[in-house]
């Protein structure tokens, strides 16, 4: 039971991460590989604040969100002057810079040793020390993010993002400020990415830079792609699917190191197949396979 709750918490943390990325990658069509970096900034800032200054989450969560947003604002004003391929490489660069700061700034982040002993979550005097209460808290936040994104998608701002994804020059010619919309979108994504970072840090109570590498960014991006870039529901399904695969492999009885590699091979393959068949996400892929088998 504990194990199941653990998996559910992880799934919901990744749902928040992937859904916030889907605003940039899905709606606005700007693929970003820096998501794990902002996830890491959220985790590290809350860890440092709550250990060194013993601040409660009602202060650390907003602080780390503001910090993420501030960094993303600076970074995006620079990175968004480039387009397409170069933008991806730029975000990759940002990700690697953030990682090397986490890995090398010994006095602040404790380098590769990581930060142990992060206290469990307390909110208005209530301590979320059991897994069940933590899960409920995570689900509440996930729903909050989900509806916020849904609201954004339907709002005026969301429509501008959708339009610039389709045709940037045309959108600009109708008098919309495309550059500003992109910067705001990127910043907003980073702000939301801080939330799972805070949750993750409090949940595992020990963080080190290896949880926030480029590979992690790629993993989050593949959740978004496999889920179907603009579909918030698909992402929920995809993150559950991708996190449960390695657990399923463990039950088959494969040795641990091969299972880790096999998991990556599987999600790499799914990624290629989903893009190759031209379906929008894995849900539609399954639907089509089902339809085909029904016809036969």
């Amino acid at each position: 039971m504990e194990y199941l709750l653990h998996l559910l918490i992880l799934i919901f943390i990744y749902i928040i991460l992937a859904q916030s990325l889907s605003l940039t990658a899905g709606l606005a069509g700007m693929v970003s590989l820096a998501q794990a970096g902002f996830f890491g900034i959220g985790a590290y800032s809350t860890a440092i604040l709550s250990i060194n200054y013993a601040l409660p989450i009602s202060i650390t969560l907003p602080t780390s969100m503001i910090l993420c947003g501030f960094i993303a604002l600076i970074v995006s004003t620079i990175a968004l002057r480039t387009v397409e391929d170069y933008f991806i490489i730029c975000t990759l660069g940002i990700q690697i810079i953030i990682f090397s700061i986490m890995n090398n700034w010994m006095s602040m982040t404790n380098g590769p040793l990581g930060i142990p002993g992060i206290p469990s979550l307390t909110f208005w005097g209530f301590e979320f020390d059991s897994k069940l209460t933590f899960l409920i808290f995570t689900i509440v936040l996930a729903f909050f993010v989900f509806f916020l994104l849904l609201f954004f998608k339907l709002s005026n701002f969301g429509r501008i993002l959708k339009a610039l994804n389709e045709d940037e020059i045309y959108t600009q010619s109708t008098g919309k400020n495309v550059y500003l919309a992109k910067v705001l979108c990127f910043t907003f994504t980073a702000i939301l990415a801080a939330i799972p970072g805070v949750l993750y840090a409090h949940y595992v109570s020990y963080i080190d830079p290896t949880s926030f590498t480029v590979d992690e960014s790629i993993f989050i991006l593949s959740i978004v792609i496999i889920g179907g870039v603009q579909k918030l529901w698909g992402i929920i399904f995809a993150s559950a699917f991708l996190i449960l695969i390695p657990e399923a492999l463990r039950f088959i009885g494969l040795p641990n190191d091969i299972a880790a590699n096999l998991r990556q091979i599987i999600y790499g393959l799914i990624l290629v197949v989903v893009i190759m068949t031209g379906e929008k996400g894995i849900l539609e892929l399954f639907q089509r396979i089902k339809n085909n088998s029904c016809k036969q």
Partner: protein, 290 residues
């Protein structure tokens, strides 16, 4: 002096990598990150032929290059060609290539393990002393091979018919097609040359420092940064980019700390994208627009 030798060494490796990457990127107009796997595969195939099967160097190196080119052509003609036919957007193509990279890289991890391996020919020798610096034999080979290949490929692109076709489709694919150049065939040639060059650079790096399954991605990123710094479709630009990148990295390692090398590399890249987004050459890559 050691610093100068190191800079020359890195310059020549980055030069070869960026050349191999840019020849595919310019002709297909998509960032195929699976390029990294050609580098890794080149190194591991060479390791397999040399150490496991203990073949001689003359057989092992061409054989591993051959197999990598075969792999490259297979991926290109079976997967990427279909993407371009279905008009999949270049961003999705890039992500799919990342998927291919992840698959093959983990496959290599399963087969050979994640540990660092090294190819040693005979006993370890102290390097030759040149002007108060040391240089080992593999390093001399790297510099000679890289510079020779770079010149050969540059000449090939300028004077050979196939090379000129590749050049033509990189500068304007629509016009090239009107003039009767077969685009798919040219991209196939470009892939063959690019993957072969990538395999050679992988083998050279393996001889110098050793091999891990993830070596390719880091090297590819350096090659990519060189290409962006240098600008696309320009031989001199690539040389400038490689020299700049290698110099900066080694100065960072010498004066600050080698652990900040990556951060400085990408910091330079971002500054450069701001100040001179088209690199030294200032040429723009023309994507197909209708």
């Amino acid at each position: 002096m050691q610093l100068a030798i190191n800079i020359i060494l890195s310059t020549s490796i980055y030069l070869l990598l960026s050349l191999s990457f840019s020849i595919i990127y310019c002709s297909s107009k998509s960032l195929y990150l699976s390029h990294a796997i050609y580098v890794t595969c080149g190194a591991y195939f060479c390791y397999y032929f040399l150490v496991t099967l203990s073949l001689s160097l003359v057989v092992a190196v061409p054989a591993s290059i051959f197999f990598v080119v075969l792999l490259g052509l297979f991926i290109e003609s079976n997967i990427y060609k279909r993407f371009r036919k279905n008009l999949v957007s270049s961003l999705l193509q890039m992500i799919a290539s990342l998927g291919i990279y992840i698959c093959l890289q983990n496959f290599i991890s399963i087969l050979w393990g994640d540990n660092m391996r090294s190819i040693q020919l005979g006993s370890i020798k102290v390097g030759i002393e040149v002007l108060r610096g040391y240089i080992t034999q593999p390093q001399i080979a790297i510099i000679i091979v890289c510079i020779t290949l770079f010149v050969v490929v540059a000449l090939f692109k300028k004077y050979n018919r196939i090379g000129r076709n590749i050049n033509a489709i990189s500068s304007n694919p629509v016009l090239a097609e009107i003039f009767g150049i077969n685009i798919d065939k040219s991209i196939l040639w470009a892939t063959g040359i690019g993957s072969g060059l990538a395999a050679i650079s992988g083998i050279l790096v393996a001889f110098d420092t050793g091999l891990t399954p993830t070596m390719g991605f880091n090297l590819l990123l350096y090659g990519m940064v060189t290409m962006i710094l240098g600008g696309i479709r320009s031989t001199w630009g690539l040389i400038c980019g490689a020299v700049l990148l290698a110099t900066l990295q080694h100065l960072t390692a010498y004066y600050i700390d080698s652990k900040w090398m990556d951060a400085i590399t990408y910091f330079t890249l971002i500054i450069f994208l701001l100040w001179k987004p088209l690199g030294f050459s200032g040429k723009r890559l023309k994507k197909v627009e209708i």
